[in-house]
Amino acid sequence: MSAATRLLFAEHDAEVAAAEQRRTQRRERAQLALRYSALLAMALLMLYPIIWLVGASFKSNAEIFGDAGFWPQHFDFSSYAKGWKTSTEFSFATYFLNSFLIAVPRIIVTVISCVLVAYAFARFEFWGRKLLFAIMVATMMLPHVILRIPQYLMFREFGWLDGYLPIIVPSAFATDTFFVFMLVQFLRGIPRDMEEAAMIDGCNPLQLLVHIIVPLLKPAIVSVVVFQFIWTMNDFMSPLIYLSTVEKYPVSLALKMSIGATEEVEWSSAIAISVVALLPSVAVFFAAQRHFIDSAASSGIKG
């Protein structure tokens, strides 16, 4: 074979290889496109009920039914006004205020108690630590329904019924063990060099917690705040059991009332007010999502 022929063959081989490569690339691109479109279709299917809900909140009562499109023909804000006023003597301003009056103190005591306990579990040796940790994990799996009745009786003895204390006080004792678990997992991943250095400099354990641990824990604490906020806003069972005065109702109970009051549900205003009720949670979710989905994933979450 002459050098020229060999070169020719080599060129041919290279061409075949290149063609092959183009084919694979094309196939891969087609696969990628397929995957993207499947995912997009899925995401749309998942979110469409919510998108539709938002659109429907601007529709008139007659237009809501029988239209699968989400874009209203005429924007009509009257359902919002009507829903906000409610058929009770209080407006949703009261109910939102109530929800925040529960959520804010609850978040504060949750963060403080859970950080303290997580610090103990992650950084100290003490009597019964292993057992307590096991109990903590076990309570994450304990069906809450079994504690409802005795807790109700306890809070009745304390004279706490028809108030927010039954919802807030247990959180001050790190009973939302999921958060403790999440914080412990996070703390275990943080190297202890800084703390050791600070200890040599004469920091006591409390100073260590405040000046070193808490700043490092900040991302995890944000997750605790976000989850506790959304879960407290969603919480329906506890207010349902403990609150009896309409004036003290949070948003979740007020919403239930707005569709339970009459046989014929006033859909347009119920829908408008549902959108408003979801807004705080959605806003918090998008503000922090990147961040707290990660911590949810790493600790194994409920919900």
Partner: protein, 295 residues
């Protein structure tokens, strides 16, 4: 780390008190209550196993509620976990905009527990709601989702499955730890996508599947908002789950002893299922680092 036992215990003290006061004490008390007759404004008196006997022999509602609960869990939990795993698998590749998809699939499980979403669900499954509109365009007769006991269960099952996001992100995190070299090797050996999924992905993340299954079982057995708000337990009690019956018996009619007995039955069932999963797990869950030679 810090060998300061007293200080460590002090920091853990809130939890110790919380567990004793708000978990352990109520736990024991509810067991005691379940053996008593207790209407809320009269003092309780001991009735032995009467509540349980009545549940088993004289309460057809309980039997129906139990059946509905088991049916609900059997449908909703595998669907939710399976869906979560499937979507996580599809999402697990180098993907632009992964943050968007992850958030989109996660959002329903954040909002799904709220009453607002229950309102939405009731609405889209109503006679002229979104689901029937879509079916109509496909030429299917409208279905009375909320009024027909053959279909009502599906409204709350879909609501539960819709919230697969939290399981999904856990799966996704686990999948990202599976070395890609395994898939590359399998690809070279000519394994199909399905084979790669069933022979590599699934076996490697069985511990996570196990964890999600248990957590979702616990949630599924306690599902309340869906049946309470969307179907109100109806029609013909077809979606009257145990959690609903317990709530009404305890906090509407204030038969606290009877309610406690029912919640203990529910607890026992959840416990039995968890125990079954734990027991069976040694046959199908494989933890990394366990060597065959050890057996």
């Amino acid at each position: 780390m810090y060998d300061n036992k007293k200080v460590g215990f002090m920091f853990a003290l809130p939890f110790v008190l919380g567990v004793l006061g708000f978990k352990l004490f109520p736990f024991v008390m509810s067991l005691a209550l379940s053996f008593s007759q207790f209407e809320v404004f009269r003092s309780p008196h001991w009735v032995g196993a009467d509540n349980y006997v009545q549940l088993a022999t004289q309460d057809p509602t309980f039997g129906r509620a139990l059946g509905a609960t088991l049916w609900f869990v059997a449908l909703a939990v595998p669907l939710r976990v399976g869906f979560a795993l499937f979507i996580a698998h599809v999402l697990n590749f180098k993907l632009r905009g992964i943050g968007f998809f992850r958030a989109a699939f996660y959002l329903p499980s954040i909002l799904g527990g709220s009453i607002a979403v229950a309102v939405l669900w009731r609405f889209i499954f109503s006679q002229r709601g979104l689901v029937n509109i879509v079916l109509g365009t496909l030429g299917i007769e409208p279905v009375l989702w909320l009024a027909d006991e053959r279909f009502s269960m599906w409204t709350i099952v879909t609501l539960f499955v819709w919230q697969f996001g939290s399981s999904m992100v856990i799966f996704l995190a686990a999948l990202q730890n599976v070395p890609t070299s395994l898939y590359e090797a399998a690809e070279l050996d000519g394994a199909s996508k399905w084979q790669q999924f069933s022979r590599i992905t699934v076996p490697l993340i069985t511990p996570v599947i196990f964890f999600n299954l248990i957590m979702q079982l616990v949630h599924g057995f306690q599902e309340f908002n869906g049946p309470y708000m969307v179907t109100e337990g109806g029609p013909l009690q077809s979606t009257y789950l145990l959690s609903l019956y317990i709530y009404e018996e305890s906090f509407r009619y204030f038969n606290l002893g009877y309610g406690a007995a029912m919640s203990w039955v529910l607890f026992a069932i959840v416990g039995a299922f968890s125990a079954l999963s734990f027991w069976s797990s040694r046959y199908w869950v494989f933890y990394a680092g366990e060597k065959d030679s050890k057996r």
